[in-house]
C-alpha cells in the first residue's frame, strides 16, 4: 500500500472555518480538497435593493478581521459606477486607513496565527512561556494599528466612518501627529520582525505560481491599480470577469477562482511583493534585502517574512501620509445628481 491520506478536520488559527484533505500516491499528491464549510450568508443576494450608502457598512460584515478591505472595495466599486472623484486628501486618508488595518492584521497574522507553527506552540498564548517579550511586542504593534483604524473609523472592527465619496468625519492634522511616536516605534518593531522571521526555518519548497496583484504607476498597491500577473495579465479591474472564472465545487461553500486558460493563481503579500517590489519605499526594500529576499520569492513558507516587509511598508507609509496630510475642504463628495 503506497497511498496515504492527510486529513485536518478543523484548520485552526485562520479566519473562517475550513478542513483539508490531501491524498498521496507514493510521494505524489494525487488529490487536495480545501473544504470551506463556513455556512453561506448570501451577501450578494441581500445587497440588492439597499441604498448605495448602506453597502459599505454591510460588506464590512463579510469579515471582522479585514473589514476595511471589504468596505473600501464596495466604496471603490460604487464610486466607479456613479463617477465620483474624491479629494486628494481623502485618497491619502484612505491609504492611511488601510495602513492601520495592515498593521493590526499583519501583526496578528505573523505573531499570533503563524509564528506558533514555526516555534512549535499551539498558540501565541502558550508562546508567552518562553517568548513573552515577543508576544507583548506583537500586541503593542497590533494595538497601534487598531488605534489608527479607530481614530479614522471610530472603532477597530467594522469601522463606521468610511463612505462613498469620503469619510463622515476626518481627523485634524494634530490628531494624526499624536500617532507619530507610536508609529516610529512600530516601524522599528517591524524591521525587527523582518529580521526575526527571516531566521525561522523554512522547508525547501518552491513552485512556479502565477502571482496576481494590483499594480499602481507609482505606489505600492493598497486600494487601486491595474490587475497584473507574472504571466502577462495586465487588465483594468472592470475586466475581471473577462479573464477570471469563479467555479462552484461540491466540497466547498467558497467559490474557486481560476484564470481562464491557465488555472489557479496566488494572491496576497507574496504576490503583491513579487509584482511590486520596485514600488516599496527604500526602508522596506532594504529590510527585504537584508533578509535575503528578492523577487520573485517562490517559497510560500517565506510569506511570513514578506508579510513583515509589508508591515515595514505600512508603518513607513503611515508616517509619510501623516507628514503630508492637510485636512480636505470637504469630507464627502456626493455622486452627481445628489445635493
Amino acid at each position: 500500500m503506497t497511498g496515504r491520506t492527510i486529513r485536518v478536520d478543523t484548520l485552526t488559527r485562520v479566519e473562517g472555518e475550513g478542513s483539508l484533505y490531501i491524498k498521496m500516491s507514493g510521494s505524489r499528491v494525487s488529490d487536495v480538497k480545501l473544504r470551506i464549510y463556513e455556512p453561506p450568508r448570501f451577501f450578494e443576494a441581500f445587497l440588492r435593493g439597499r441604498h448605495y450608502s448602506e453597502v459599505p457598512d454591510i460588506t464590512s460584515r463579510i469579515c471582522g478581521i479585514c473589514p476595511i478591505a471589504y468596505q473600501m472595495s464596495a466604496i471603490h466599486a460604487i464610486e466607479r459606477a456613479l463617477d465620483v472623484r474624491v479629494e486628494p486628501a481623502i485618497r491619502l486618508l484612505r491609504r492611511l486607513f488601510y495602513c492601520g488595518e495592515w498593521i493590526e492584521s499583519h501583526a496578528l497574522h505573523i505573531f499570533m496565527l503563524h509564528a506558533p507553527d514555526f516555534l512549535g506552540y499551539p498558540d501565541a498564548i502558550a508562546m508567552t512561556a518562553d517568548n513573552r517579550e515577543l508576544v507583548e511586542k506583537a500586541l503593542r504593534l497590533k494595538k497601534i494599528g487598531n488605534h489608527l483604524v479607530t481614530l479614522l473609523g471610530g472603532r477597530e472592527i467594522h469601522p463606521i466612518s468610511a463612505t462613498v465619496g469620503g469619510f463622515y468625519k476626518v481627523p485634524s492634522k494634530s490628531q494624526l501627529e499624536e500617532l507619530i511616536t507610536d508609529l516610529q516605534w512600530a516601524l522599528q518593531a517591524s524591521l525587527e520582525a523582518v529580521e526575526w522571521t527571516s531566521k525561522l526555518e523554512f522547508p525547501d519548497f518552491e513552485q512556479d505560481y502565477e502571482f496576481v496583484a494590483l499594480r499602481h504607476p507609482d505606489e505600492y498597491p493598497l486600494n487601486e491599480g491595474r490587475l497584473v500577473s507574472n504571466h502577462g495579465l495586465n487588465i483594468d479591474c472592470a475586466e475581471y470577469e473577462d479573464h477570471f472564472t469563479e467555479l462552484h465545487v461540491k466540497h466547498s461553500n467558497a467559490l474557486h477562482s481560476i484564470i481562464r486558460g491557465r488555472g489557479s493563481y496566488l494572491v496576497g503579500p507574496l504576490a503583491r511583493f513579487n509584482m511590486n517590489f520596485d514600488r516599496l519605499p527604500v526602508v522596506a526594500q532594504d529590510s527585504a534585502k537584508s533578509a535575503h529576499l528578492s523577487p520573485p520569492v517562490l517559497n510560500p513558507f517565506r510569506g511570513i517574512i514578506v508579510r513583515a516587509v509589508e508591515l515595514v511598508f505600512a508603518c513607513a507609509e503611515a508616517l509619510r501620509i501623516i507628514q503630508e496630510y492637510t485636512p480636505p475642504p470637504r469630507f464627502v463628495t456626493y455622486p452627481p445628481g445628489r445635493a
Binding site: R41, G154, H248
Partner: protein
C-alpha cells in the same frame, strides 16, 4: 479541606469559543483586548478557541462564548451539544443574539438567494431562516453589538468568573450621545437615526462621526420602535427608508422585526 476540593478551587475556569454563521469579528475582540489579554489568560484556561489555538480540549467548559447565528441543520444540532458542554453560555454579537445581517433572508425566498450566489444550488444546504442562539437553547447572557465592545467582553468574563452580575448598559445610545455633548441627529436632521431605540455600548460613535446611528447594537431594553417609526414618518422619510433602518444587523430582533413589518404595511 480535602486535597481534592483544594485542587478544584485552584483549577482555572475553562473558556470555550464557538463559531456559527458570522464574520469572526466578535471573537476577534478577545484578541483585540491587547492590554487585558495576557492577564486574562493568566486567570482562565482557554480550552477551545480554534481561531486562536490548535489546542482543542474536550468539554465540559465553565464559560462558552458563542458567536454566529444558526443557519444550517448541522449547526442546529451542534448548538444543542455546545449547550450541554457549557455551564454558562454567553452569546456574543448581533448574529448570535439576533440572527445577524444574514437574517435578511428571513423575509425572502432562500432558494432564490442560493441561485443568485451559487452556480450549483443543489450543493448548498441551508435553513430558510437565520436565527439567534436563544431560539434554540437557553442562553445565560446575550452580549449585543455588531461587533461587541471588547470592554464589555472583558467585563462579562470577569463578572461570570467571580459570579456577579455584569455591568453592561441597557439604556439607549442617546444617553451616550448626550454625555458626549453631540448635537442630536434624530431631532436636528432629516435622517433615520436609530439611536433612540438602540442599546448603548458603542460609545455613540456614529453620531460622533456626523452620521445617524444605524442600530448595530440592537434594541435597547423596552425599545419603543413604533414611536421611532412614527418619528421617521413625521420627518417625511419614505417608508422604505424606515424599513431598511430597522432591517440591518439586528433585523430579526423582535422589536426591530415588528417595526420593519409595520412600516412595510404602510
Amino acid at each position: 479541606m480535602s486535597s481534592k476540593s483544594n485542587s478544584e478551587s485552584r483549577r482555572k475556569p475553562r473558556i470555550a469559543v464557538f463559531k456559527f454563521a458570522s464574520c469572526d469579528g466578535c471573537q476577534l475582540s478577545l484578541l483585540d483586548a491587547e492590554d487585558e489579554l495576557l492577564t486574562m489568560v493568566g486567570a482562565v484556561e482557554i480550552a477551545y478557541f480554534p481561531e486562536a489555538s490548535r489546542t482543542m480540549l474536550k468539554g465540559p467548559y465553565d464559560v462558552g462564548l458563542v458567536e454566529g447565528s444558526i443557519t444550517t441543520h448541522t449547526d442546529a444540532q451542534r448548538i444543542q451539544e455546545v449547550r450541554r458542554q457549557c455551564k454558562t453560555l454567553i452569546t456574543i454579537g448581533a448574529c448570535a443574539t439576533a440572527g445577524g445581517i444574514q437574517a435578511l433572508r428571513n423575509w425572502k425566498d432562500v432558494d432564490e438567494f442560493i441561485r443568485v450566489v451559487y452556480a450549483t444550488p443543489q450543493f448548498i444546504s441551508t435553513l430558510k431562516l437565520s436565527t439567534p442562539i436563544a431560539e434554540h437553547v437557553p442562553v445565560d447572557f446575550e452580549l449585543r453589538g455588531c461587533p461587541i465592545n471588547k470592554r464589555h467582553l472583558v467585563e462579562l468574563i470577569t463578572a461570570s468568573l467571580v459570579g456577579r452580575k455584569p455591568s453592561i448598559p441597557t439604556y439607549s445610545v442617546c444617553m451616550e450621545c448626550k454625555r458626549k455633548g453631540n448635537v442630536c441627529i434624530a431631532v436636528t436632521r432629516d435622517a433615520a437615526c436609530m439611536g433612540p431605540v438602540t442599546q448603548a455600548g458603542c460609545g455613540a460613535i456614529c453620531p460622533s462621526y456626523n452620521r445617524a446611528c444605524y442600530g448595530c447594537f440592537g434594541p435597547m431594553e423596552s425599545a419603543n420602535s413604533a414611536s421611532l417609526a412614527n418619528h421617521f414618518h413625521y420627518l417625511g422619510l419614505p417608508s422604505d427608508v424606515a424599513v431598511r433602518s430597522f432591517r440591518g444587523f439586528n433585523a430579526w430582533a423582535w422589536q426591530f422585526r415588528k417595526a420593519s413589518e409595520e412600516c412595510e404595511r404602510q
